[in-house]
Every structure is written in C-alpha cells, then in structure tokens.
C-alpha cells in the first residue's frame, strides 16, 4: 500500500519526467500486488502484462522521442493552483474514505468468491461476448487512429 501510494506521488512530483514514468510503473505494480492479495491472480497478471509490459515501455519511448531540455524539467506551477489541487485532492480522498467507512459493509464477511480464470473465460465467452466484440473494434480503431496521427509525411523522391 505504501509502495503504491508513494510511487503515485513520485510519478507526479518527480523533477525529471523519466523518473515520473518509472514511478508510475512502480505504482501500477503495487496495484497488481493488491490484486494478488484480493484473490484475483489472473487480473494481476493481466495488469502486469498490459501496464508494466506495454504501457510503461510505450511511455518511456514517447518521453525519449519528444525529449528536450526545455520541458524535461517542467516549469514550476503557480503556488495558488498547487494549493487548490492539494485541497481538492484531500477533500475528495476524505469524502471517499468517510463514505466507505459509513457503509455497513464491515458486517458482511468476505465470501470466498475467488473466481478462477475458468469462470472469467466462461463469462467472457457467453454473457459478455458482445462487450468483447465491441472492445476489439474499439482497440483496432484506436490503433489505426494512433498510427494515422503519428504518420510521418515524407517528401516524394523526385
């Protein structure tokens, strides 16, 4: 828990944005560990594969592609907006914690609802199959969109 929250703060507050990316990877790894603790090993492995395997590498490559000294050390934000951000974040955190503690969820014992990947696979391939199809379309559309955006227009050799 400490690792997760601490790395999230590092991700946003590190001077160099590369260290921020590494902090984000640490935070995502902490969330994966919490998934393990919550009896969801399949989701945890998926999280490690997608977030830490793919997305952290993607972010690091983007940082290297657009790297420039001018914004690698970003301009300091105004102190007023920083204070406003801290107040907003703290207020939302306190509100959520109070709401979570105010429920009577504590009187329910956790039934051992450890769904295995077999159950997840059954659910995906039967009831949630339309969602899976739509998700596949969204993924391919986003990949095509990203490729189109980042296409380099080269001059035609004459």
């Amino acid at each position: 828990m400490v690792v997760t929250v601490g790395s999230a703060i590092v991700a946003l507050e590190a001077k160099e944005i590369v260290y921020g990316a590494i902090g984000l990877a640490g935070s995502l790894f902490g969330v994966a560990a919490l998934f393990f603790l919550l009896d969801a090993p399949y989701v945890a492995v998926f999280q490690i594969a997608v977030y830490i395997g793919a997305m952290a590498v993607l972010i690091l490559f983007t940082v290297m592609l657009v790297r420039e000294e001018k914004w690698a050390k970003e301009t300091p934000v105004a102190s007023l907006s920083r204070i406003a951000g801290i107040i907003t974040g703290l207020a939302i955190t306190i509100a959520l914690v109070v709401a979570a503690l105010d429920t009577n969820l504590g009187q329910y014992t956790t039934i051992s609802n450890s769904a295995t990947f077999v159950n997840i696979g059954q659910l995906i391939s039967t009831a949630d199959a339309p969602v899976l199809l739509v998700l596949a379309l969204v993924l391919s559309a986003s990949v095509v969109g990203a490729l189109t955006l980042s296409r380099v227009d080269r001059e035609e050799p004459s």
Binding site: A8, A11, L12, I17, G20, A21, L24, S27, L28, V31, L38, D39, A40, V43, F46, Q47, V50, Y51, A54, M55, L58, I59, T62, V63, L65, V66, E68, W71, E74, T75, V77, S81, R82, A84, G85, I86, T88, G89, L90, I92, T93, L96, V97, L105, I111, N113, A115, T116, N119, I120, L123, D128, L132, V138, L139, S142, V143, A146, L149, S150
Partner: protein
C-alpha cells in the same frame, strides 16, 4: 478501498495542478487504477451464481476490470500519439500553450 480513495485523490491533484500533457496522462492512469481496485474489492462481496448445486464464483467484477484495462491501454496509445503530434507541431507539450485549440 482506502488505498483506492487515496490514489483517486492523488490523481485529482495531478489533474488540477499539472500542465504537462504526459503528467496529465499519468494522473488519469492513476485514477483508472483506483477505480479498478474498487471493482475487484467489491467483487469479493458478490453472491455466488447459479443454484446451490452448481454454485459458481461470481466473476463479474474481475471481468469488468479486464475490459477496463484494455480500454485504458487503447486510450493511452491514442493520447501518446496526440502528444507526439503536438510536440512535432508546437515543440511543446504544455497544454496551456496549445493556443490553436482555443475557440
């Protein structure tokens, strides 16, 4: 759930204060992870599916998180492509400097 609330608060703080497009992406990712954590945590409380003889564990929460992770990956890919294009056009990724987007 308290960890999730703290992560969400950190994400909101980042979203409010930062002006660098990549930092905004970090903040959004942290908030998405907070939501996913809540889904898995609450999924533990769901009742079993089916009758008493064929009781199956309820996997709805974890399945939803799998879909959510895939969507977040697609979103991050698009945002990173936009960042690269914005850098190529403006030599900057500060969102307050992108004047051409103003109405």
């Amino acid at each position: 759930m308290i960890v999730s609330a703290m992560l969400f608060g950190i994400g909101v703080y980042g979203l409010v204060t930062k002006r660098n497009a990549l930092r905004l992406l970090f903040a959004v990712e942290i908030m998405i992870n907070a939501a996913n954590l809540n889904f898995v945590a609450f999924g533990q409380y769901l009742p079993f599916e089916g009758s008493a003889q064929t009781a199956l564990p309820n996997a709805s929460g974890q399945t939803f998180v799998l879909f959510s992770i895939a969507l977040a990956a697609a979103e991050a890919a698009v945002i990173l492509a936009i960042v690269v294009v914005a850098y190529r056009l403006h030599k900057d990724v500060d969102v307050s400097e992108l004047k051409s987007l103003e109405g």
